[in-house]
């Protein structure tokens, strides 16, 4: 196999999948660092976002890419609501109790999707999309859109965290929660802003997974492990780390098909997770270890 074929068959799909994982992993790393628990309903929130976009496209006839912001806002609001209803009152209890609650929420969100949209696979658009040839590299429009949107969203997030008052408050809360509270940061507001962002990112991850493959009620749950592997690989709390982690996990999963039966794609994410916990639990970019 020559190099171009390798790129076309493994690297391009890997980077597209990796961009989707990156969108999820950034959210996971934010929750892990600021709210300080592993959020197990993350994947199923992504599923919900994907199906909200699906509803916008099929029921309301919204153009495909216009459905993305709609889904992001809707999922952000759902995320805030879930926090208020199910996580907020557990704040004084050990954090692992919130992890447990999030497992319950994962199940609940998935059931809602299954009741409303059923369990059959759906797609946003019908018909076959032919890739265009860019100097030998074959790319579909939606693949380009996936990677560019991921980069754009992450840049906006970074700008928000570095330049705005509440972005800085989020970083302060991640860095030293007690001192942030002593400085007068309102924790409830930080939690609200965090869930708005995380919910939006979840929806984007789900939307692009649905766009590049298909929509299924289990799609998000199956992304949970790679997303966590990406967040830990990059270093918990590191946005750039989560992006790098996502891309690495995506590419490794695709390349693993050369050596492993394709059923075991998911196992490579698990292997990366365990290796990182053994070798370097702080991740590539020296993040937190909870």
């Amino acid at each position: 196999m020559d190099f171009l074929e390798f790129v076309n068959f493994y690297i391009v799909p890997g980077l597209v999948l990796g961009s989707i994982y990156a969108l999820g992993a950034v959210g996971i790393t934010l929750v892990f660092a600021i709210l300080r628990y592993a959020h197990l309903a993350h994947g199923d929130m992504a599923t919900l976002g994907a199906f909200v976009a699906f509803a916008a496209v099929t029921l309301a006839g919204v153009p495909l890419y216009a459905a993305l912001p709609i889904a992001m806002v809707a999922t952000a609001l759902v995320a805030v609501g879930i926090d208020r209803l199910f996580y907020d009152y557990l704040r004084e209890r050990p954090r692992i109790v919130t992890v447990m609650a999030s497992l319950g929420v994962a199940l609940m969100v998935r059931s809602v999707v299954q009741v409303i949209w059923g369990v059959d696979a759906e797609t946003y658009t019908r018909g076959i999309v032919r890739p265009e040839n860019w100097w030998g590299i074959r790319l579909k429009d939606r693949e380009i859109a996936t990677v560019l949107t991921m980069i754009g969203l992450v840049l906006c997030l970074q700008l928000f965290l570095m330049k705005t008052k509440w972005g800085k408050a989020m970083r302060a809360m991640s860095d030293n929660p007690n001192l942030a509270l002593l400085s007068g940061v309102d924790n409830a507001k930080v939690v609200f802003v965090t869930w708005m962002i995380v919910g939006g990112l979840c929806a984007a991850a789900g939307f692009f997974l649905g766009l590049n493959t298909e929509l299924k009620s289990m799609m998000g749950w199956q992304m949970l492990l790679p997303m966590f592997a990406a967040a830990i690989l990059g270093g918990v709390g590191r946005i750039e780390g989560a992006v790098i982690g996502g891309l690495v996990v995506g590419v490794v999963e695709e390349v693993s098909v050369m050596f492993l039966p394709s059923e075991y794609k998911a196992a490579t994410a698990f292997a990366i997770l365990l290796v990182m916990l053994i070798v370097r639990p702080t991740g590539l970019l020296r993040g937190k270890v909870l």
Binding site: L90, I96, G104, L107, G118, F228, E263, A269, L274, L290
Partner: protein, 316 residues
């Protein structure tokens, strides 16, 4: 006739309650007494079920085994293999907060599911493994059911007594000390990761045993026999509702949740088919909601953990 049907059903439920009680006690050792979050209960359950199935079923072409071994060997093998799967996961993750264990156990359960689905030579993939011997399986149906119930109830009683004894021993006191104040326990020179690893592996072995009992009950095991998320979650809600840290509470929780779960299934099966499908998901939604309600309004469960040791003396 009606009475016989009811009796049959009651016995069938009781067998399931005993099997789930084993899982709940296993989880209680991990979560209730040690504070470890295992989100892959179904994985350890499946390892136990398939191990015992392979060891005890008659030979079959194109698949490893069966080895036609006696049933107790299968059960022991189920416990050992579940423990062996748990060991490396615990070894890696128990140095960190339990969040990492939660993720890793989700991962291992997923991989076990993939192996079961795709490794034809080992698990028979979609066909599964059939011809698993059932103790007292030659008796007439109701007698056989009753005998199997007696058997699983006996296993449960033995496990319960052993675990209770272990929890009252110095080991159990140390586990609670670690759970309640890890820093203090470390400062006293306790080897916290090793103790946790013991609890994690021990709990996983009991889940493996539960899987074996399930496989022998059905005489067969297939990938579709258990929905991993729902099974794992049911055990969690059973333990939390019953009272984590209290084995009797765990068993009570199993009975309550299993009765609710089964009766809601009977109810929804009477709905017209298109509604019945949705109703299945609504049941799952409600069980998730139930956890949230318990966590909010009665986090200690129906039977709270008894005060032991110093705290109990103070109260007296």
């Amino acid at each position: 006739m009606e009475w016989l049907g009811l009796l049959n059903y009651a016995v069938f439920m009781a067998i399931f309650i005993c099997i789930y009680a084993l899982l709940a006690i296993g989880l209680n050792i991990q979560w209730g007494f040690t504070g470890l979050f295992n989100a892959g209960i179904a994985g350890f359950f499946a390892v136990g079920a398939y191990t015992s199935a392979i060891l005890t079923s008659p030979p079959e072409a194109g698949r490893v085994g069966g080895f036609d071994m006696p049933v107790p060997v299968g059960w022991a093998g189920a416990m050992v293999l579940a423990a062996l799967v748990a060991w490396p996961i615990g070894k890696v993750c128990l140095r960190f907060r339990s969040d990492y264990l939660a993720i890793a156990t989700i991962g291992i359960a997923e991989i076990i599911r993939l192996v079961i689905k795709s490794e034809d030579w080992l698990t028979g993939s979609a066909r599964g493994i059939t011809g698993i011997p059932r103790p007292f399986g030659d008796l007439p149906y109701i007698h056989s059911q009753l005998a199997y119930l007696a058997l699983v109830a006996g296993v449960l009683l033995v496990v319960y007594l052993l675990v209770e004894r272990q929890i009252r021993s110095p080991w159990g006191r140390m586990m609670r000390a670690i759970r309640d104040n890890e820093l203090a326990a470390r400062a006293m020179g306790k080897d916290v990761p090793s103790r946790r690893l013991e609890a994690f592996v021990f709990g996983a072995a009991l889940m493996g045993l539960g899987g074996a009992l399930f496989a022998h009950l059905n005489r067969a095991i297939t990938p579709e026999a258990i929905d991993p998320m729902v099974a794992t979650f049911l055990v969690w809600i059973m333990l939390i509702l019953g009272g984590s840290g209290n084995n009797r509470g765990a068993i009570l929780g199993v009975a309550v949740v299993w009765v609710i779960w089964s009766f809601s299934e009977i109810l929804t099966d009477r709905f017209p088919p298109e509604v019945a499908v949705k109703a299945k998901y609504i049941r799952v939604f409600l069980i998730g909601l139930m956890l949230q309600v318990v966590l909010r309004f009665r986090p200690e469960g129906i039977l709270p953990e008894p005060q032991r040791g110093a705290a109990a003396k103070e109260k007296r």
